[in-house]
């Protein structure tokens, strides 16, 4: 009973921080739109070309702009010791990581959804592709949150300022990109690809709390 209350409290605090950091979210969305504009300027505004490559561009830019906010995933809580206090109140590191992934999903990735239909308008995408993009983004962004948690917890240990975490996120997101863009190419395999994506999500939801918690423990030990 106390645990549920504490989890509720944790989300309340995350919501509070989300309100206070809302400028971060808007700057991420701005980055996303500006990079779309740059792509269009670089390729030329040919309608047929933009329609054929729009989906891939939107997905890869979503990926890049979601790696922007990864640096803050654990760093603040780790530096001021909130992780220790939360752990001392009876929440294990694994549960903490899991809650943090969920809050990143709800407060960073889901608000990104509002920008997707607008981006699709810029590329003149047909409406069914927009629906598919929304569905795959909801599933795929959960995978990105898990990957981001792993890379951010690795960065806690990494004293040299090297962006290896972001590189690893990009490397492991290759299958996500392949499957989620592939949904639009062949209509009949829609169900199977969605199932594959959900399967990958479940694997990462299982693996990432364990590995991130191990990294956080080692980082606390190293500090």
């Amino acid at each position: 009973m106390f645990l549920i209350k504490k989890i509720f409290l944790f989300f309340k605090r995350e919501l509070n921080l989300f309100y206070n950091n809302i400028a971060d979210l808007f700057s991420n969305i701005l980055f996303f739109f500006l990079s779309i504009f740059i792509f269009v300027f670089a390729l030329g505004a040919e309608e047929q070309l933009l329609r054929s490559i729009g989906l891939g561009i939107i997905w890869s830019l979503l990926l890049l702009s979601s790696t922007l906010s990864l640096r803050k995933f654990y760093e603040d809580d780790f530096n001021n010791g909130v992780i220790k206090i939360i752990h001392m109140s009876g929440i294990s590191y694994e549960l903490f990581v899991f809650l943090k992934i969920l809050s990143h999903f709800f407060f960073v990735q889901i608000p990104f959804l509002i920008s997707i239909p607008i981006a699709c308008i810029f590329f003149n995408l047909p409406i069914n592709e927009v629906y598919n993009l929304m569905i795959t983004f909801i599933i795929g962004s959960l995978i990105l949150s898990c990957l981001g948690s792993i890379s951010a917890s690795m960065n806690l240990l990494n004293k040299t300022n090297f962006s290896i975490g972001s590189i690893i996120v990009l490397l492991f997101s290759i299958p996500v990109i392949i499957f989620s863009v592939g949904i639009n190419n062949s209509e009949d395999s829609f169900r199977s690809l969605i199932n594959l994506l959900i399967g990958i999500t479940l694997i990462f939801l299982g693996v990432s709390p364990w590995s991130s918690a191990a990294f956080i423990k080692l980082a606390l030990r190293n500090k």
């Binding site: 690795m154 240990l157 004293k159 040299t160 690893i168 490397l171 590995s211 990294f215 080692l218 190293n222």
Partner: protein, 231 residues
């Protein structure tokens, strides 16, 4: 008997015995292989460019074998806490990277006259390029973390995750319809390559693996000396 594979002291003793013969064998096989390559027949379609194969194929095989060795050692190191396996992981990752680069470079040199392009986004080529990225990431990861144990375990786990790529590389020519030709040597019943081409190919493979082994031995010995304090 095979203790030298997991024990640094035994490894040093064993290597001191076999190192000089190994160098001699490597020199002999390399010169014999080059000789055989020189004498080998030209392809009736590809002409002289077929001789790129004698560098391309051995380096591709060795890139995969190096990664497989690293995977096995990661499993052993994580499961039985043998720190020697992490030494090997650190020592042979650059060798694998060099073989992969050699494979990609010779492949694109071969591809330009044959396919008319340096690079295609074909399943085999892309997966090998990802293998190169994984090798480079392993080399970079070796320089990031300050804590040695954390670094070694992280790299071992990363190698295990990256080993998903190995079967993808191996079977990519069978699973997808690709420009790259399917396997011709490793068909179990009857290799679809002529014996006059198979002989130099196998000799070159032996020479390449000998050279790789010599460099690996030198690097492992240097790494053992560096870590003498912990072992």
């Amino acid at each position: 008997m095979f203790n030298f594979l997991i024990n640094p002291n035994q490894f040093n003793k064993f290597v001191d015995i076999i190192f000089k013969p190994l160098v001699i064998i490597a020199l002999i096989t390399l010169s014999a292989g080059l000789m055989l390559v020189y004498l080998s027949p030209l392809d009736y379609q590809q002409g002289l460019t077929v001789k790129i194969m004698y560098i391309h194929v051995p380096s591709a095989w060795l890139a995969l074998i190096t990664y497989a060795i690293m995977t096995i050692y990661s499993i052993v190191g994580l499961a039985f806490k043998i720190s020697f396996s992490f030494i090997i992981n650190k020592a042979i990752a650059p060798i694998g990277a060099v073989f992969t680069i050699l494979c990609l470079l010779s492949g694109s040199m071969w591809g330009k006259p044959m396919w008319g392009t340096w690079w295609v986004w074909d399943a085999r080529l892309t997966s090998v390029a990802i293998l190169l990225i994984i090798y480079l990431l392993i080399i970079f990861l070796n320089q990031t973390f300050e804590n040695r144990e954390v670094r070694e375990k992280t790299i071992a786990i990363f190698i295990l995750i990256g080993s998903v790529n190995l079967p993808i590389i191996k079977f990519s020519v069978d699973w997808w319809n690709t420009l790259h030709q399917p396997a011709s040597v490793s068909k179990l019943s009857s290799p679809s390559i002529d014996i006059s081409m198979l002989q130099p190919l196998l000799t070159m493979t032996l020479a390449f693996s000998m050279i790789g082994l010599i460099i690996a031995i030198l690097r492992i010995k240097a790494e053992i000396l560096l870590r003498k304090k912990y072992l």
